[in-house]
Amino acid sequence: MQPHFIEFITVGFGLILLMFEAFTKGNKSQIGLLAAAGLTVILAMLFCPAPSCCPVPEWMERFYSDDQTARFYKIIAVTSTILVLLMSVDFSKVLSKFTTGGEDDSATGEFYCLPIFACAGLMWMASATDLVSIFVSLELVTISFYVMVAFMRRNVGSLEAGVKYLILGALSTGFLVYGIAWIYGAMGTTDITLYSSILESEAYHLNYLLFGIALILLALGFKVGAVPMQLWIADVYQGAPTPITAFLSVASKAAGFLVLMTIVSPFLAADATGSTVSAILLIMAGATLLYGNLAAISQNNFKRLLAYSSIAHAGFLLIGVATQDYDAVSFYLGTYLLMTFAAFFVLALIRSEEDSDELEAFDGLGKRNPLLAFALTIAMAALAGIPLTAGFWGKFLIFKSAIANDISWWLLSIAFVSVAAGFYYYLKVVKAMYWNTAKDSASITVPVITKVVLILLTAAILILGIYPQPIFNLLGH
């Protein structure tokens, strides 16, 4: 089997499932379980080594690479899709409420199929090595997301989020295409693998190139949630169905960063453009860190808090990209998946049970359900970057490369203040769970899927916090 078949299999699986869904009656959330099972098989395939018999065919080579990094990001994409599907199954009550008005779940079937298409797009993005294939796969992802974000059609918030995401997404797509056109004009090709040799030979137009890069950075800034394209994040995250928020926050961001790294790495490595590009990235990083952290401090809605925290994390990751420590960025994203999903699983459950995303809904959770509270405490500690959790390693490695690369002191100071601010707003959640007393002290029962997933995620956060090597093994070290 040739490596790129895996994306085709994924798309095919999605199509079959969509048909199957259309012609079956009954409990739609079983479609979700089926989808998750299918993706688990695909995940298993990703762990198999590439067969030596059939490499990527020549006509495809230009668009597709099957290296270890690509595999890593595919694993992130598939894992997060599986988690999204599982979360959706436990979230079906809310979905039905806002699609058919709570009568039945007949209108939720597509919700379990769409993530598979997004997943195929994300996987393709991970392998894409040409601006055109990057653009096409990115659009597959974005268009799937447009539908998913607005899926709860009887919920004004979800519709508003859908419209905002659509308009800003279209705008950023415009930037991206325009940027690609300028880069193509300056470099004469869209094949990214050729860029480093072109940059060496100096057969390009520097100003056109820089303009193109700037446009692409803007467009990808939208994907990863970096200033100045961060404005959509809070509203879209808040309005979208919670599993989709988690999906946006993890998989879409991870793929955005991978594409960012693929595109800018030749320019960062070259003398002519390196300093300019890294300066832009560092300025974006500083602004993103400030915006995300300062805005998160005052949030009383947990979903918005996670939205701003996701902006803040993008800031740290941008430092890693600017200092060309791509392994640190990949590692950070891998651990970010674990802790963010742990947080969103708890949030989704509280949303179904309490019908609220506000921090107040978490009051007294420590008494109402110790397991949920403990898992969320670990997730918050990891997001804050407290040592001996997986989240600390990511920040540690980013800081290490920042200091080793001698980035400017003001940015480092912003990063430090950000970490300290993070302690405050993440611990605010812990505080709500343990210090505050609940209005409703009835205990919460946790559905089996959420329980198992939470235990696994929490264990992974703690184990990787002491022994992070497995993630580096996945990255091929």
Binding site: F374, T377, A381, I386, P387, L388, F392, W393, F396, L397, F399, K400, I403, A404, L412, F416, V419, A420, F423, Y424, L427, V430, K431, Y434, W435, I466, Y467, P468, Q469, F472, H477
Partner: protein, 472 residues
């Protein structure tokens, strides 16, 4: 062997969360830890280091080992842990949180002192952060919420600055092992030393970064106050001695005038603040901040001349003595509150008539804390003052350290003023309303106090029992 020292309290804490009987498990775990520590220290050969590579690039190992200083800190940690699980009054129904947090903090402290890798040295210290936050926030006294936020944000900020310093310090060799630490290029020493002084200094409550400490200790539940003031706080000093002096000796020398001025801030400024305290727990919290100044004085003497052979033992002995004495004082203060119902000094009086044993122990601890000869702190303080003048030959003009030492000596007077006054107002004079019906401490409550008091006496009379480890 050494790994067990961390795992015992850690697993016991998890067991408690999982439903084991809280108090009993905590006591057994801390007793077991004392036994393991004794065994590990008595037979250096069988306590060989432990090492597990957790990351290949950058190379980071979970490695543990006992060096001279860490042996002393280990003894301090296990003794205070045992006393801490016995101390304080756990509110009904909160045993899980109370004892598991205490053990988590202890595990973090022991882990930090045993680590011989910069990464885990740093990481273990932070293990205490969330338990402390929860304990103060949920079970604390007074302005517990404000105190909990203050200590958490301060320590988080201090740690992150520290992290920058540690990363710069290890950048050149690329290795995080203690054994690979070496002086870094002169051009960076000043920056690194500054970061380390601010980072470690915040954790040790160096003036003017000290304002988190007293309110946090005052409102913290007793075991947390004991472990934090007694053990965790020594982490910063330990770090300055083990890492700071090694990687940036010239940098430390460069900042020597600043260190001297700031440590006088601790001794004189905070000392005067301490005199003004109206509550026993706040007074002790401030006094613990003040006494950090003396240990910084020893570090300053070492920075002025790394060949100063008294300075390091002086710092370590005083760290040990202060840890034991402040833990004892916090433990007894909680008993005063249980017996008399208040800690406002003005509302106390004559407690010695009703609770002679408590008065005796408090007197002993107070005397130790102000440096009465025969008790451990005296040995430490005297050595610190000697260290201050070790490099000075009569007739020569005096340097920063000597002048600081002379001013710092006045701190002894200040301590005597507040401690004796507090003792007089609490235990002597006529009985007042609060103390009329107070009972003496009973057998069970005496155990932790006697353990700590005995340690103070033994080390005070024979300090070599501690100093011998420094040649390890």
């Amino acid at each position: 062997m050494l790994l067990a020292l961390i795992l015992i309290p850690f697993l016991a804490a998890i067991g408690i969360l999982g439903g084991l009987p809280a108090r009993l498990t905590a006591v057994i775990a801390s007793l077991a830890n004392i036994l393991v520590a004794t065994y590990a220290l008595s037979c250096p050969a069988c306590s060989d280091g432990f090492s597990l590579q957790v990351l290949a690039d950058p190379k980071i190992n979970l490695s543990l080992g006992i060096t001279g200083i860490s042996a002393v800190m280990l003894i301090l940690s296990v003794i205070v842990t045992l006393a801490a699980v016995y101390s304080g009054k756990c509110p009904e129904g909160r045993e899980k949180l109370w004892f598991s947090s205490t053990l988590f903090i202890a595990a973090g402290a022991i882990g930090a002192f045993l680590s011989t890798d910069v990464f885990f040295f740093y990481a273990f210290h932070e293990l205490a952060l969330i338990p402390t936050f929860l304990m103060i926030g949920i079970l604390g006294r007074g302005d517990r919420k404000e105190a909990a936020w203050k200590i958490t944000i301060y320590l988080a900020f201090g740690s992150i600055i520290l992290l920058a310093g540690l990363l710069m310090a290890t950048m050149h060799t690329g290795s995080f092992a203690f054994s690979d630490l070496a002086a870094i290029p002169a051009s960076e020493q000043n920056t690194v030393a500054l970061l380390l002084i601010i980072g470690f200094g915040t954790l040790v409550s160096l003036f003017p970064l000290h304002s988190w400490a007293a309110p946090a200790y005052a409102s913290a539940p007793t075991p947390v106050a004991m472990l934090h003031a007694g053990v965790m706080k020594k982490f910063g000093l330990y770090g300055l001695l083990v890492i700071g002096m090694k990687v940036a000796p010239q940098g430390m020398l460069h900042w020597l005038p600043w260190i001297c001025v700031l440590l006088l801030g601790n001794i004189i400024w905070v000392g005067l603040v301490t005199i003004n305290q109206k509550r026993l727990d706040l007074m002790l919290g401030n006094s613990s901040v003040m006494h950090m100044g003396y240990i910084f004085l020893a570090i300053a003497a070492l920075a002025a001349n790394p060949a100063n052979s008294i300075a390091e033992p002086a710092a370590i002995l005083l760290m040990f003595a202060h840890g034991i004495s402040i833990a004892l004082l916090f433990s007894l203060t909680s008993l005063v509150e249980q017996k008399a119902g208040t800690l406002e000094i003005s509302q106390l009086g004559g407690l010695a008539k009703k609770a002679p044993a408590l008065a005796f122990l408090f007197g002993l601890a107070g005397m130790a804390s102000i440096g009465l000869p025969g008790l451990a702190n005296f040995a430490g303080e005297v050595m610190v003052f000697f260290a201050g003048f070790a490099d000075w030959t009569p007739g020569e003009s005096m340097g920063w350290v000597q002048i600081t030492t002379i001013i710092a000596l006045w701190g002894v007077v200040i301590s005597a003023v507040y401690m004796l006054r507090a003792f007089r107002n609490t235990f002597q004079g006529p009985l007042v309303k609060a103390t009329e019906n107070a009972a003496d401490i009973h057998y069970c409550e005496k155990i932790p106090a006697y353990i700590l008091a005995a340690t103070l006496l033994v080390v005070g009379i024979y300090p070599k029992i501690i100093l011998q480890f420094l040649s390890l």
